[in-house]
């Protein structure tokens, strides 16, 4: 009886039970670290390559957006579009909080470049949110 059950156990379940039981970082800590500093969550999980790629991708998009003088949405945007813009922008963590430092001259969306910059900054936040989800899945062992 027990043998038949053992034969019916899927290979994926077997591989999950073989993973080490102890974790160095709790998922919530990994999620917070990944959000505040892009790539930090992967760094804590010892995924060096992904950590570097996410830091470069999020930083590259955000800083290019500031170069282009894109609009940075404030927490109190006033309408739904502003609120969504804030959520997207704030996703980039450290780069959002340093936005005024990088873009002291303020946004200029009177040119097409400024409008592109707004999209770059939002895209940086969205990419970092994807990276946070990826780090969470690794921390909870849903993926490698």
């Amino acid at each position: 009886m027990n043998e038949s059950i053992a034969h019916e156990t899927p290979a994926s379940e077997t591989s999950l039970t073989e993973l080490p039981a102890k974790q160095d970082s709790t998922p919530i800590f990994v999620v917070l670290a990944a959000w505040i500093v892009p790539g930090m969550g992967h760094l804590l999980l010892r995924r060096w390559g992904r950590a570097i790629v996410f830091f470069i991708a999020v930083g590259g998009l955000a800083i290019t957006g500031y170069f282009l003088r894109g609009n940075i949405f404030a927490p109190r945007g006033g309408d739904a579009f502003g609120a969504l813009g804030f959520l997207a922008d704030a996703g980039s963590g450290l780069f959002y909080f340093c936005a005024r430092f990088f873009e002291a001259a303020g946004p200029d969306v009177s040119r097409a470049a400024g409008d592109y910059g707004t999209r770059f900054i939002a895209a940086a936040g969205v990419v970092n949110l994807i990276s946070v989800c990826d780090a969470y899945e690794i921390a909870t062992r849903r993926r490698n």
Binding site: G49, A57, V58, L61, T64, F102, A104, Y116, F120, A123
Partner: protein, 63 residues
């Protein structure tokens, strides 16, 4: 101010966006390094090719 405002052309901006998005998507969706490089290169090509294609399709509207 750390960075002075700088003009970046439309095409360089497109390349930067396509490269960064391709790298991030490749890391999330693929498992091995070889698969990631292949996916990122193909995604970068499609980003640029489709953007240039749409630009050419919209060209008559600008005149």
């Amino acid at each position: 101010m750390l960075i002075a405002p700088m003009l970046i052309g439309h095409f360089p901006a497109l390349l930067i966006f396509a490269l960064m998005a391709s790298l991030a998507l490749a890391c999330v969706t693929q498992r091995t390094a070889a698969e990631r490089v292949k996916y990122a290169a193909w995604s970068l090509f499609l980003f640029v090719a489709i953007a240039v294609g749409i630009a050419w399709a919209m060209y008559p509207l600008s005149r």
